[in-house]
Each structure stands twice: as structure tokens, then as C-alpha cells.
């Protein structure tokens, strides 16, 4: 949509006033975002050469892209991506149920959102007690006479990333539910009533009325969740497994953190950071394409 020049803009003399208003925020953003971003790009193409001279080039990218640990980390981020469709489907279903104003829906809505406001480290620590070998989950399975299913959920290298996966779903599901429920409040009740008159059953109403109405926010939620799984899962991993057992739960962010603050390889960390930014940008561009398509469908 072209921006329309609004005649109501303050039509005062051109002064420096707006820039004074903008200055504190602009300076802070320069310090926190702009300058670090430039430095990051420079550092990612700089590598310490022999004789203390630094070299420029794509050396850092070559070495990080050949690093098996980064491959494993990216594979884990990809595994976490799989949580997004599951979480979205669950959230849409729960929102559809709550939208029917079942008894206690306000209570359920409040409860389901609680995990989302908790600190990730708090969640992570509590769950590491629940998921450990002699933890609550295995005791519960024992009570159900299912001890055979008991596992070392965070200590088994083939399971740990999936346990983290579940904890993330536990914490972020509620955001989807509340988001979708808010969108459903703008759904015309007459549509549902008409469908009921036509004897459309619950699933058909769900598929043909509820889901299409939610399409734009589903798209938003999916994009946001994918970005989260790519670049905001450090806290979960750091608190629950710190990459272990035997490096099985490394994610891209942890590679950056370890390279930068543990292994003393800030140039490599910078290269991985640039890759992370590129991936995030790609996700956003894909979303822009999908959005345009949805808008065309709606038009």
C-alpha cells in the first residue's frame, strides 16, 4: 500500500525539534545495534594471521562451515523446527475449543499462558529435576506400572534434544493459544451459526471457518516460532544440558557462545553469528512471500 501523505502532519516550520526527540533512542540504538553490527561484519572476515598481522577474507566462514560441531548444532536447530507444526496444531485446536466458551474458558486461558511469562532458566532448572533419572516423570511412570518407559531423559544423548524440544513446547504453546483466541474474537458468530444450520460437524466448521480465519496469525506464529527455534533457544540448552551429553544438544547459539567466551575464538564466533543473521533474514523473506500469497487469497 502506498503511504498517503497525511495533511494532518504537524505543518510547522522545519526545525531540529524532531531530532532532539529522536536523539536519546537513536544514540542507544547506535551503541547497541548499529556499531556492533558493523564490527561483527568486519570481525567475521578478519582472521589472525602469522606475525600478528590480520588477514581478510572468507577464511572464518570456510572453517566454521567445515566444523562438524556446527553441523550437529544446525541439525539440532532443524529438529527444533519440527516442534513448530506440532505446537501450532495444538494451539489452534485448544483456541478453537476455548472459543466455544466452554465452562471455565477464562481460567484455562489464564493458566495456559503462565509458562510463557516465566524465566526460561527457572523453567529449565525445574524440568531438569523432573526429567532426571530418579525424577518426577519416571516416578510417575512407575506409578502407572510403565517403568519400562522410564528413561534418563536429559542424560541420554539420543533423547536429550527431544526432551528440550518438549520443554520448549510446554513453555511456548500458551502464547499461540492466546494469540489465536484473540484473533477468533473477530470471527463473525453468524458464520458458525449458518454452518450449524447446514449441519456441518465440528471438524468441518473447524477446517472451513476457524482455520481460514486464523491464517494470517498462524503465519505470524509459525514465523516467530521458527525464528525462536533458530536463534532464541540458548537459555534452554545452557541451563538443561549445556550442550551435553557428548555434545548431542549443541545448537547454533551455543557454538557462538562457546567460541566467543570459552574457546577464545571470537572471529569464528563472528562468522557463525553472521550465518545466523542470514538464516533469520531468509526466514523473514519467506514470510513476506507467504504473507503476500495469503493476502492475495483473501482479496
Amino acid at each position: 500500500m502506498p503511504t498517503v501523505k497525511r495533511s494532518t502532519d504537524r505543518g510547522r516550520r522545519r526545525t531540529l525539534t524532531p531530532y532532539f526527540f529522536l536523539a536519546p533512542a537513536a544514540v542507544t540504538l547506535l551503541v547497541v545495534f548499529a556499531y556492533p553490527l558493523v564490527q561483527l561484519l568486519l570481525q567475521s572476515i578478519t582472521s589472525p594471521g602469522i606475525l600478528g598481522q590480520s588477514e581478510h577474507g572468507l577464511q572464518n566462514f570456510r572453517s566454521v562451515l567445515g566444523d562438524p560441531l556446527l553441523h550437529r548444532a544446525m541439525a539440532n536447530n532443524a529438529r527444533l523446527f519440527l516442534a513448530v507444526p506440532v505446537m501450532t496444531a495444538f494451539a489452534v485446536l485448544l483456541a478453537a475449543l476455548l472459543h466455544e466458551r466452554v465452562a471455565g474458558w477464562r481460567f484455562y486461558r489464564s493458566i495456559v499462558f503462565v509458562p510463557y511469562v516465566l524465566a526460561i532458566p527457572v523453567v529449565g532448572i525445574v524440568f531438569s529435576y523432573i526429567l532426571q533419572l530418579h525424577g518426577l516423570l519416571n516416578q510417575f511412570l512407575g506409578m502407572l506400572h510403565l517403568s519400562g518407559l522410564a528413561k534418563d531423559w536429559l542424560g541420554d544423548s539420543s533423547l536429550a534434544i527431544w526432551s528440550i524440544w518438549l520443554v520448549i513446547v510446554w513453555q511456548q504453546l500458551g502464547f499461540g493459544v492466546v494469540l489465536f483466541l484473540a484473533r477468533l474474537s473477530s470471527l463473525d458468530p453468524a458464520l458458525i451459526e449458518a454452518a450449524m444450520v447446514d449441519r456441518a460437524d465440528w471438524w468441518r466448521r473447524f477446517r472451513h471457518i476457524v482455520v481460514p480465519h486464523l491464517a494470517p496469525v498462524i503465519e505470524f506464529f509459525v514465523t516467530l516460532s521458527l525464528i525462536n527455534m533458530l536463534s532464541w533457544v540458548f537459555n534452554y540448552v545452557y541451563v538443561m544440558t549445556n550442550g551435553g551429553p557428548v555434545n548431542s544438544t549443541y545448537v547454533t547459539e551455543l557454538v557462538i557462545y562457546q567460541d566467543a567466551f570459552r574457546n577464545g575464538l571470537p572471529n569464528l564466533a563472528a562468522a557463525v553469528s553472521v550465518l545466523l543473521l542470514v538464516f533469520a533474514t531468509v526466514l523473514l523473506s519467506v514470510q513476506a512471500v507467504v504473507r503476500r500469497r495469503i493476502e492475495r487469497m483473501e482479496a
Binding site: R12, P24, V31, A103, L118, V122, L136, Q139, V178, F234
Partner: protein
């Protein structure tokens, strides 16, 4: 009969979800009120008699008080700065005319999705050059910066709908632009300001990564970092750790309880644009 089945098929999934959500919280709070022996005997049972020992020990022995204070100072100051800077910038973007206005506003959305870890190394270098590592100032500056894109976005969209006629009238009365913002616009913008402040406070209070990297001395740590780092020291006394976690969670839960409307509205903001 059919209605009863329909009702049950709705209640069962919701009840199960609520249960799965609540069990970990129950585990945390209930065990913080037990003795260590009672915890080992049965982690799921209600305590036979309430014990606040874990709390007194966490506060006295583990300097949770100092950590709590650090978190409070950092969160409150960065929220105050972000709200002030954000309101000034948002007002300019909504109501004043200048070159680069659209461009500035358009940058805010992509800034919100930049992964914080990506810029951490250069930010760290900058802060250590300024001698601010291990000072709360470093974290306050970074938090303020991270809060600004969201704050500006939210407030600008709120200010845009403020009637221009009122601003024109204020200008005719001789109000400066700043006075108009302070005494005409801000008083009626409280819901938006509160929304931004609450969302930002929860972010700052819960944040781990930046506080972990910038505050490495024990005296400057935040509560969330302190609990994460000291976790292994608590491993023989789980109730004490759970007490610490409950203390760390209480402010956020209270905010959710009393400001649910603002918090949820704020977190959903931007989802429809």
C-alpha cells in the same frame, strides 16, 4: 447424552493441558516449603507441616537478597530509560515531520528479531573498552537498547491516533512540543505506557544471556544468573533451590496476576501487522 459427550470431549483436553502446565509449578512451590528429608521421601506429596527454612536459608545464606536487589535495580532503570527514550522517539515518529521518519520507523521491526547472541561479542568489546564489564550500567544500556524497537513500535502506533486538533490547540496556547507531549499526550497514553513497561520489565527480569556474559562478579549478578550459576551448589538441598526459583518467579507472576490485560496485550502487539 450427546451434549454430555460433547462437553466432556471439550473439557478433557483442556483439563489435561492445565494439569501438564501446573505440575512443574506445583513441584517448584510445594518442594520449596519442605524440609530436605521430606523432599527426598516424596517430591510430589504436600508437605506435612510447612517449613520456611528453605526461604530463610536462601535469603540469609545464599545472598538471594543481594541478587534480588540487583535484578530490581537493573530492570527498573532500564524500563524507565526505554519508556522515556521510546516515548520521545515514538512521538516524533507519530506527530512530527522530518526527513528519514519512515525509514527510521521501518527499521524497528527487523531490529526486534535480531538474535541477541549475534551482537554479543562486539557489544562485549565495546563495554570492556569503556570499562563497564561487571558494572550494572553495561547491562542497563544493552537492555534499554533491546527494549527500544518494541517500545517505539508500540507507542508510535498508539500516538498516531491522538487527534491532531488537540495538538494544534496546545500549540496555539503557546505550548512547546515537549510540553504538549508531557501534559497533553502522555496523560491519556497510560495504557500504552503501562503495556510497554510491563512487557519490558518481564523481559529484563527473566533475561539470562546478557547478564551472564556482562556480570561475572558475584556482587553484580542478577537473580536469574545467580540461580543458574549456583545451581550445582544447591544440589544437596533442592528445597532451597526451589525457594530461590519461587522468589525469582514471584514478581513476574504477580505482574501477570494483576496486569494480565496489559501484559497479554503487549505480548500480542505486532502480531496482526
Amino acid at each position: 447424552m450427546k451434549a454430555a459427550i460433547g462437553n466432556a470431549s471439550r473439557q478433557v483436553p483442556l483439563l489435561l493441558t492445565a494439569l501438564v502446565v501446573l505440575v512443574p509449578l506445583y513441584f517448584m512451590v510445594v518442594n520449596s516449603l519442605k524440609t530436605n528429608d521430606a523432599f527426598i521421601a516424596s517430591p510430589m506429596a504436600l508437605p506435612k507441616h510447612l517449613s520456611f527454612r528453605a526461604y530463610t536459608e536462601a535469603v540469609q545464606g545464599r545472598s538471594i537478597g543481594q541478587l534480588f536487589l540487583n535484578s530490581a535495580v537493573i530492570s527498573v532503570i532500564s524500563v524507565a530509560l526505554a519508556t522515556t527514550f521510546g516515548a520521545l522517539a515514538a512521538f516524533a515518529l507519530a506527530k512530527l515531520r522530518f526527513r528519514g521518519r519512515e525509514a527510521f520507523f521501518r527499521v524497528m521491526l527487523p531490529l526486534m528479531v535480531i538474535p541477541p547472541i549475534a551482537l554479543l561479542v562486539p557489544q562485549f568489546k565495546l563495554m570492556s573498552a569503556a570499562g563497564l564489564v561487571n558494572h550494572r550500567v553495561s547491562v542497563i544500556v544493552i537492555y534499554t537498547g533491546l527494549m527500544l524497537p518494541f517500545t517505539i513500535y508500540l507507542l508510535r502506533n498508539f500516538f498516531v491516533s491522538f487527534p491532531d486538533e488537540l495538538l494544534d490547540a496546545a500549540a496555539l496556547d503557546g505550548c512547546s512540543t515537549f510540553t504538549a507531549l508531557r501534559h497533553v499526550v502522555l496523560p491519556v497514553s497510560q495504557p500504552a505506557l503501562l503495556t510497554a513497561a510491563i512487557v519490558n520489565f518481564v523481559f529484563a527480569w527473566n533475561e539470562l544471556l546478557i547478564a551472564l556474559v556482562f556480570l561475572q562478579s558475584e556482587g553484580s549478578r542478577t537473580l536469574v544468573v545467580g540461580l543458574t550459576v549456583f545451581r550445582s551448589r544447591f544440589s544437596l538441598d533442592v528445597p532451597e533451590l526451589m525457594a530461590g526459583l519461587t522468589i525469582a518467579t514471584a514478581p513476574v507472576l504477580l505482574i501477570y496476576l494483576f496486569g494480565q490485560r496489559y501484559l497479554v496485550r503487549g505480548l500480542l502487539a505486532g502480531s496482526t501487522k
